[in-house]
Amino acid sequence: MVVAPQQARAFHTGSDQHGRQLSAQERERMLKPYLPAPSKTKTPQQSQQSPRAHKQRVRPAIRHMIHSLIFTIIHAFFSLYIRFRQAYHAVVDQVLAILYYHHRTPELVKRDVKGLTKVPKHLSVILQKRDRLDTLINDACEIAAWSACAGVPMLSIYERTGVLKHSLPHLHRRISRTMTAYFGANNKPSISLRAPHMPSYSPPTSPDANSSLGEHPHLTILLIDASDGRQTLVDLTKTLAEMSQHGKLAPSDISSELIDAEITESVMGEPDLLILFGDKIVLEGYPPWQVRLTEIYRVQDHAGGVGYHVFLRALCKYGQAEFRVGR
C-alpha cells in the first residue's frame, strides 16, 4: 500500500499538514481508496441485477485467466531462479568442502575454530534418517569427533524416530572407534553417552580413562528423539495433575521455573546452537521448551547431508566471526 505524503504524515502523527488533529470521519475518507470493495454486502444486489449478469461472469473469468497466467510465469521464472541458486550453492558447498577438510586431524579442526570468540557450551544437531541406519551412525560419530576437537563440552543429537537411542552400546563402540581414528588410542577424550530416561552407558572397560581426563575435556553426548519434546511435557502435566488431585500442589504453584527445572533435569538444558543439515528450517518435533533462545543454523539450499564445512560455518556464525574462504 503506497500512500501519498500527506496521508503518510497523517498516518504517523494523526494530524494533517496544518497540525490539526484529524477526526474519525476525515481519517475514514483518507483511507477509503485503499480499502478493498465491500464485497459481502453487495452480493445480494448483484444477483438481482439480471441485465448485467453476463458481464459479471465474464470479467472474473478473464481475471482468473490472467492471474493463472501470471502465476505460471512467476513460477516458471522462480524455478529457473531457484535452480540457478541451488546450483550456485552446491558449487560453493563443494568448494568449501574441499577447502575445509578435517583430514581426521584434531589440530586442523582446532586451528579452524581458533579465531572464534566463543564456542557453544551445548551444541545440538538434528539428523534425519535417510535410508540406512549405518550412515546415520556414521554422521553421529563424525559430529561427535568434530565437537570434541572444537572443545564443545556437550552435544545433543536429535533424531525424530529414536533409532539412535535404541542402538546405544553399538553407537558408543562406533564413536569410540572414530575418536581413536582422530586422536589416536592414547589421548582420546573421554565420552559419556546417554539418553533421557535411560541409564547412562559408559564403556565397560576404559583402561586409561582417569589419566586422559586431565588433558582432554570430557564430551557428553545426549541422544534425544520426538518423545523428549511434547511427550515429556505431557508426562510432566500428568504428574502435576496427579499431585494436584492428591492435594500435594496447588495449580498456582506451577511456574516457569518449576517446569524449567524439571525439564532440564529429565531431558536437557537449553542448547546454545542448533545445526540443521537440511535445506529448510523445520524443527520436526525438536523439544519445544529448550529451543527458546537457541541460535538456529542451516545452510541455504544445502542438500549434501552432514558435512564438516556446515559444522564449521555454524560455529563461525555463532562465534560472530567472518567465515573467510582460504585459511
Binding site: 481519517r27 475514514e28 483511507l31 478493498p36 511427550q231 500428568k238 516457569s256
Partner: protein, 382 residues
C-alpha cells in the same frame, strides 16, 4: 546525502498519480495470481528490527515502532487479500518489559491510540473481516490499555473470514506454563455434571446383579457358608458407601477409594470384584475423607491435544514463521506450535522495510516447495 536525494526522488516518482495507479494494479495482480497456488492457512511473524531501523536512520525508537506498524498494515493487507486465514504477530514480549520505562510506556500508548482509532473505524475493519484476538498474560497490561483491547476484541469478534492474533505480553514458555496450569486445574476439579443424561439403568442395581452372580459362583466353588455371609456383609458395606457418596458411584470409583494412591492410575475393575479383598469392606477413612469429589478425571487421559487446547492460540499451527532482521532465533515465540511442521524463515531485512516485494519471494518459495512435495496440503483440503 546522495542516498537521501535518491530516496526523495524515488518517493516523488512513486507518488506520481499514474505510477501510483500502476503500482497499485500490479500489486493487485500479483496478489491475485498468488491465489492460484496453495496459500498457507496460518502465518506467524516476529516483527524484529524496529529499534535497529530507528538507530540506523537516526530517529527515536518510538518512530521505528510507528514505521513497524505501517509495515504490519502492508503485510496484513497482502496476507488477507491473498487468502491467509490466520495471522499471528509477536507484538510485545514479556521480556520487553525489561526495556526502558519510557519506551514501554510509549509502546503502550501507541497500542492504545491505534486501538482507539480501530474502534472508531469499526465498519472499515469489517471489510477485511478480520477478528482480533489478543493472546498473552493479561495481568501484565495497564488497565486503560486493557480496556481498549477488550473493546477492539469485542467489536471484531463476529468477523469470521480471518483472524489476527496479537501476542501482547506473550512468551512461548509462559504459554506452555499457562497451558499446563490450566490442564492441571481442569483435572483437579470434577467435570461439570450437566452433560450427563439420565439413563434408565441404575448402577447400584447392576452392581448388585454382578455380585449376585459372583455369589453363586463362590457358593458353587467353595460350598462355604462363611463366604455367603461375607458377601452379604460386603453388600451392606457397599450400599452404605452408595448412600454416603453421590448417587452415581461406578465400580472404578470404588476401586479408587479402596486403593492407595500409588495404584490410583491402574484402571482395572477386577480388584473390587475379587471375593477375598477385605480392604474393600473398610476403606481407610483418610482416603474417604479426601475423596470429597470422587469424579476427578484420570490424569492418564492427558495428551498433547489437551495441552494444545489450553494454549492461548486457538487455531491450527502455522505453516510459515517469518522472522525479520536476520536473527536466527525463535526468541520464545510460539514454541509449542512451531516445533513440528512449521517452516521457519529468517529474513535479512529490518521489519519497517518489510513489504510486498520482500514478502512475495518467501511466499513463492513456499508455494514452490509445496508444489515439489506434491501439493500434499492441497490434496488434503480438496
Amino acid at each position: 546525502m546522495a542516498t537521501f536525494h535518491s530516496a526523495s526522488l524515488q518517493r516523488w516518482l512513486f507518488s506520481l498519480p499514474p505510477v501510483e495507479y500502476a503500482l497499485q494494479h500490479i500489486r493487485e495482480l500479483l496478489i491475485g495470481s498468488l491465489k492460484c497456488g496453495p496459500i498457507p492457512q496460518h502465518i506467524a511473524f516476529i516483527m524484529d528490527g524496529n529499534r535497529r531501523w530507528a538507530r540506523t536512520h537516526h530517529v527515536e525508537a518510538v518512530e521505528g515502532h510507528h514505521m513497524g506498524l505501517e509495515a504490519l498494515a502492508r503485510v496484513l493487507e497482502v496476507c488477507y487479500k491473498s487468502g491467509v486465514k490466520y495471522v499471528t504477530i509477536y507484538a510485545f514480549s514479556i521480556e520487553n518489559f525489561k526495556r526502558s520505562k519510557y519506551e514501554v510506556d510509549a509502546l503502550m500508548d501507541m497500542a492504545k491510540t491505534k486501538l482507539v482509532q480501530m474502534s472508531q473505524h469499526g465498519e472499515l475493519f469489517d471489510r477485511y473481516g478480520a477478528a482480533v484476538r489478543i493472546l498473552g498474560d493479561r495481568s501484565l497490561v495497564r488497565g486503560d490499555v486493557l480496556e481498549q483491547v477488550d473493546k477492539a476484541v469485542e467489536m471484531t469478534k463476529d468477523n469470521g473470514s480471518a483472524v489476527l492474533n496479537v501476542c501482547f505480553p506473550y512468551t512461548g514458555r509462559e504459554e506452555i506454563v499457562h497451558s499446563i496450569r490450566e490442564t492441571v486445574e481442569e483435572y483437579s476439579s470434577p467435570p461439570v455434571e450437566e452433560g450427563r443424561k439420565k439413563r434408565p439403568f441404575s448402577e447400584t442395581r447392576i452392581q448388585r446383579n454382578i455380585r449376585k452372580g459372583h455369589q453363586l459362583d463362590c457358593v458353587e466353588e467353595e460350598r462355604d457358608d462363611a463366604a455367603g455371609s461375607l458377601l452379604q456383609a460386603r453388600d451392606d458395606g457397599v450400599s452404605d458407601a452408595d448412600t454416603t457418596s453421590t448417587s452415581s458411584t461406578s465400580l472404578d470409583d470404588i476401586s479408587h477409594l479402596a486403593h492407595p494412591p500409588s495404584s490410583h492410575t491402574s484402571q482395572s475393575p477386577s480388584p473390587p470384584l475379587h471375593p477375598t479383598s477385605n480392604t474393600f469392606l473398610h476403606p481407610r477413612p483418610k482416603l474417604l475423607a479426601r475423596s470429597k469429589s470422587p469424579h476427578l478425571p484420570d490424569p492418564e487421559s492427558i495428551s498433547a491435544a489437551t495441552l494444545t487446547r489450553n494454549t492461548y492460540i486457538n487455531c491450527p499451527p502455522p505453516e510459515l514463521l517469518i522472522r525479520t532482521s536476520g536473527v536466527n532465533r525463535l526468541s520464545d515465540f510460539m514454541l509449542w506450535q512451531v516445533h513440528e511442521e512449521t517452516e521457519v524463515k529468517f529474513i535479512n531485512c529490518l521489519w519497517p522495510e518489510f513489504d510486498l516485494w520482500k514478502f512475495l519471494p518467501v511466499l513463492v518459495e513456499w508455494q514452490w516447495g509445496r508444489k515439489k512435495a506434491g501439493w500434499s496440503g492441497e490434496a488434503k483440503v480438496a
